[in-house]
Symmetry: C2
Subunit: 155 residues, 2 copies
């Protein structure tokens, strides 16, 4: 099992996530950007995901909902830049906390031998918003997502 | 003369800019979002501005160049959200430092009596990128821009 490393240093507005995958970089990147594949892994287990918009190109937008028996949770953002197989820079907003927006940079590193490392760095507008995101249990959602992505890549 | 307050606390990735204007909020907001007005004030004095794209709507993009006799400086980004007269949330990238992207939140506050306060808060992906932006002389560009905007609003 590949480990998911999540780092949130105190008194900073950053969250870093590093994860390796036993799959070539172009397949990992595709899973992150293909609107058919994304709903198969993004989000905690037990949630269904509905994509209303997902255009992973420079200037494109996304809007989706995670739903379970307790309710629906909407998320939206724009893609500042997308470089195939290498880089995604996007904004992120949970609709339950309107206009508290973060900026995420994802880099896809080819490790050779059909393996890939993804570095994610998210910066929040305030340290308080970052702390609230950590307190919300995002760590659980990220770990679930990464394991579900392993399963998608193994198919 | 209204003062421009620029705050960049050490060891943080934030820059805050606060500025008041002797003009109603809807006029200030319009100057910030109208592609005809923006080139009349945005940027340091002595630069000309060419807008290639400027769509200040949610999901819209912008791309412009500042030019003087020494060269051309390109900037691009996307609008995450735009609420008329109230709020702009946008990404920002100087093309000379590719993929070093920042996220800016601008709030327009109606002070009454035909006066407006604009609060800008920008967060950079790293403290180093924020420090580099401060060292680049952005303060000079911001102060010039705010004074030029006063002139546009006085017309």
């Amino acid at each position: 099992m590949n480990e998911t490393t999540i780092t949130a240093q105190p008194d900073t507005p950053f969250i870093e996530v590093v994860r390796e995958f036993d799959a070539p970089r172009e397949r990992v990147f595709r899973a992150w950007t293909d609107p058919v594949l994304v709903p198969q892994w993004l989000g905690p287990r037990g949630m269904t995901m509905k994509l209303f918009e997902f255009d992973a190109t420079p200037g494109g937008s996304y809007h989706y909902i995670h739903a379970d028996e307790r309710g629906e949770y909407g998320f939206r953002g724009v893609f500042h830049n997308v470089v195939p197989d290498e880089l995604i820079i996007q904004t992120f907003e949970y609709e339950g906390a309107p206009n508290q927006v973060s900026l995420e940079t994802l880099r896809f590193e080819d490790l050779g031998g059909g393996r890939t490392r993804v570095h994610g760095r998210t910066v929040y507008t305030t340290v308080e918003n970052r702390d609230a995101m950590v307190a919300s249990g995002m760590e659980h959602g990220v770990r679930d997502s990464m394991e579900r992505l392993d399963e998608v890549l193994a198919r």
